[in-house]
């Protein structure tokens, strides 16, 4: 095929590639925003996700239980608490050091796997200093639950 045909074919290929790259980026961004669950979303799911998930929400007041020794892992104390987004709650068990900013009533994101009883066995817990650093997604999710009024001071 002549040089001119080759050039148009190539230009066409470049456009396809550019479009595909853009599409991939946009879909990647869209799926990543909701990549954490809120307790009520978990409840509504018919089959609990088997792999590691992220759970976002507030640590329910009074739900924090320290030092409960689990038979298997004596080394670090197991902590259990429940995370709520106003709608539903999910029990969380975590063996390891809690970040010092972690307190009841504070925003938190927990990463781990759900066991058969629906309790999240967490391997990482990420706490926030104060509200305006809470990731936007958690804020939106909490607003949807009506638990969050704009500008209201939460935590210390």
């Amino acid at each position: 095929m002549t040089r001119k045909q080759k050039r148009t074919f190539l230009l066409f290929a470049v456009f396809i590639a550019a479009g595909l790259a853009l599409g991939l980026t946009l879909t990647a961004l869209r799926t990543s925003i909701t990549y954490f669950y809120t307790p009520s979303e978990l409840l509504v799911l018919d089959a609990p996700p088997a792999n590691t998930i992220r759970l976002g929400g507030l640590v329910e007041d009074g739900s924090l239980v320290h030092g409960e020794m689990s038979g298997v892992d004596v080394k670090n104390a197991v902590v259990s608490f429940t995370v709520t987004d106003g709608g539903a709650t999910t029990a969380v068990r975590y063996a390891g050091l809690l970040p010092d900013l972690f307190r009841e009533g504070q925003g938190v994101i927990v990463q781990g796997r759900l066991d058969e009883r629906g309790t999240l066995i967490a391997d990482t817990v990420l706490a926030k200093h104060d509200e305006n650093y809470m990731p936007k997604e958690v804020m939106d999710a909490l607003k949807e639950q009506g638990l969050w009024q704009d500008g209201e001071e939460v935590g210390s």
């Binding site: 095929m1 002549t2 040089r3 001119k4």
Partner: protein
Amino acid sequence: MNQQTTTESTRPSIEQAERVIFSASGLAVSRGGRPVLTNISVRAEPGDAVVLRGPNGVGKTTLLRAFAGLLRPDHGEVLFTDAADAGRIRDRSEASVFCGVLNAHKAALTLRENLNFWAALYNAPQTRIEAASAQLKLDPYSDYPAGALSTGLARRLGLARLMIAQRPVWFIDEPTASLDSASSENFVAQVEVHRRRGGLVVIATHDPLPLSGARIFELTTKVAA
């Protein structure tokens, strides 16, 4: 250099090479920011043989590379026009082939694999590979790895690419430097065949090649002011 897109011409078969006029006008080339060549103008018709001479390092190779479009001149223009209808400008990738002092073959490939590779690049049919190998008497060495060839044989392999390319304008740098006298005569004969078919050659060399009616050019810096 305004490059008109020409339609894909039919591949010139080995019998008749297309007739092209080569012309360079007002060429100036610099290397490493240093002016090496200035106001170079030359014109060659089908059948011509242009021989470039000059002391070492004066810029013969640089000039050949500029002719072959492998080097961007500071200013001036290199043109290949169709001998039949002078208006039509031929695209360099169909008009010229450059063979420098390096033979452009891969040592790890056999001689035949190298020839086949070039044939694919120059879109040459199988017949032309056999013809080129025969013309340079390389058939006995087809299965040798190119790295094992002597310098003379390697040079003949490099020159075989000119035959495979089958393009009207040949730019060659020191073609016969490492060839024995028989091979040298044989190569000159091939050049004469190419010229008779309407092709033209521009050769930078110090050897006194018996090219009939060759036009000798001297590259010199001591030009009368």
